[in-house]
Symmetry: C2
Subunit: 255 residues, 2 copies
DNA sequence: CAGTGGTCTAGACCACGTT
DNA sequence: ACGTGGTCTAGACCACTGA
């Protein structure tokens, strides 16, 4: 990756840059290695920093680079497969479950979009449970679970007004219901300020939003909205989570 | 949405802008309506165009705006739910299936990343099938299906060297195999030049990449990589695709 | 503190779609 | 031809991290 000349074609410079750097990543760098800083890189390729940044942004979106303010740009490890399969007919927080840790809980009037999914009257209150999913020591997702108070009537006399203990209590109460099915959707979003903080990202970072509807008693008993880091996660549906793939960055060797 | 003053806080301007414009979208605009052009908007908010564009980019990524060069910026309709559930134990292109239309087919040596998923020898050739998924008159996804020649030995004597007819022939041959299961993964990517063209997007546009492994005869019989427009699609897993949700843009009323 | 990435500006020109 | 969004520049300053 030297002082490369860019072809003078209608193809955008940042696109060419992305390709060139991407190839260099495969051949000349190993995971965790730090790249030269943006000003140096821009000079090396003879472009403005903004243009160079556009290329780096794309590579970061594809999960090939990781940039941290005050630190630098490093080569990212391959995305980790995170299982979000819907076949396991269990409530969130079921016994023997891993990776999700309850953070907080409270009672709110859900936003209209959630209320619509819950099919509740628009003013009805719901318990919320905030959870954090940690995999390989990394926070990969936050979740906000909404449970209408009518779904768990036994829960009216609860001791703690908030905190992890309350979160566990709500989840425990959910297990008593017979789960009849669930329904899942995935879409692209950008991290809200609070989610971004918990995921150690900047606000607006690309995330994968997984919306789940839980059915019990012939109606929607709960709704969860999970926010996964799009840069580090590959969501897997099915039995095995060891797919090893994405773009064409296959043979990144540790030199 | 007038000549609004931006608060002078450490919060980035583009982030405030995104919020302000997003709210205006909910209250003052209806789907399909065109916004003022970028130069006007930037002037109205007293920021540089680059800053304004950063906000619009985010809104576009969230599927709330649609921008087209030479045309303008319009308010996007809510994302469409696209079913990608894995429970239907059918090969791609099975009879009675909708939305996917075969485009082309040929024979190639798969890239290393695909070969690894296929568990084939690295030099082994595979049939490819290119398909386009059209929903509500819109191209929402392209797919590249790899079928190792060893999976469909009967297919050696094929008439057409390429084209839709050949694609259909490969799919037809696949149906004869007993499908034992499939495995799916979703991750964020950026559109390659060829995919972008077919999806009517610019190269680098955010896309959701769905990788599927098809199992038959005790091994991986085929692998497909589908590229969905992330701005217009919400991938649904489960029976019903009429979830109506995303960010907090619930009450966008048609005024 | 020095060095990094993140934000922002005010310009310029280009590619594209419509008229 | 015109107006749109897309690309690019060469600066500036800010926010954060680590030594």
């Amino acid at each position: 990756m030297g002082t490369t000349r860019l072809a003078t074609v209608p193809e955008p410079k940042y696109w060419q840059l992305k390709t060139v750097i991407g190839e260099a990543l495969d051949s000349d760098f190993s995971v965790g290695e730090i790249l030269p800083n943006e000003r140096d890189l821009a000079a090396r390729f003879g472009v403005a920093r903004a243009t160079l940044r556009q290329a780096l942004e794309q590579l970061e979106m594809e999960g090939r680079l990781q940039r941290r303010r005050g630190v630098g740009t490093t080569v990212a490890p391959p995305r980790m497969g995170v299982d979000v399969s819907t076949t396991q007919h269990t409530w969130p927080g079921a016994a023997g479950q891993d990776s999700w840790q309850p953070v907080d809980s409270s009672m709110v009037v859900p936003p209209a979009a959630v209320a619509r999914l819950l099919e509740t009257r628009s003013g009805e209150e719901a318990h919320t449970v905030r959870r954090l999913r940690v995999t390989h020591g990394q926070s990969v997702a936050t979740e906000l679970l909404y449970v209408p108070s009518s779904s768990v009537p036994e829960l009216s006399a609860i001791d703690a007004p908030s905190g992890p203990a309350r979160a566990r209590a709500v989840l425990r109460e959910l297990q008593r219901l017979g789960l009849e099915g669930q329904e899942r959707a995935v879409e692209l979003g950008s991290a809200r300020a609070d989610d971004a903080k918990e995921l150690d990202r900047l606000p607006g970072a690309p995330v994968l939003i997984v919306t789940t509807r839980y059915f019990a008693g012939g109606r929607t008993a709960a709704v969860s909205m999970a926010t996964y880091r799009a840069d580090t996660c590959r969501l897997t549906f099915g039995d095995s989570g060891d797919l090893e793939i994405s773009h064409d960055e296959q043979e990144r060797r540790a030199s």
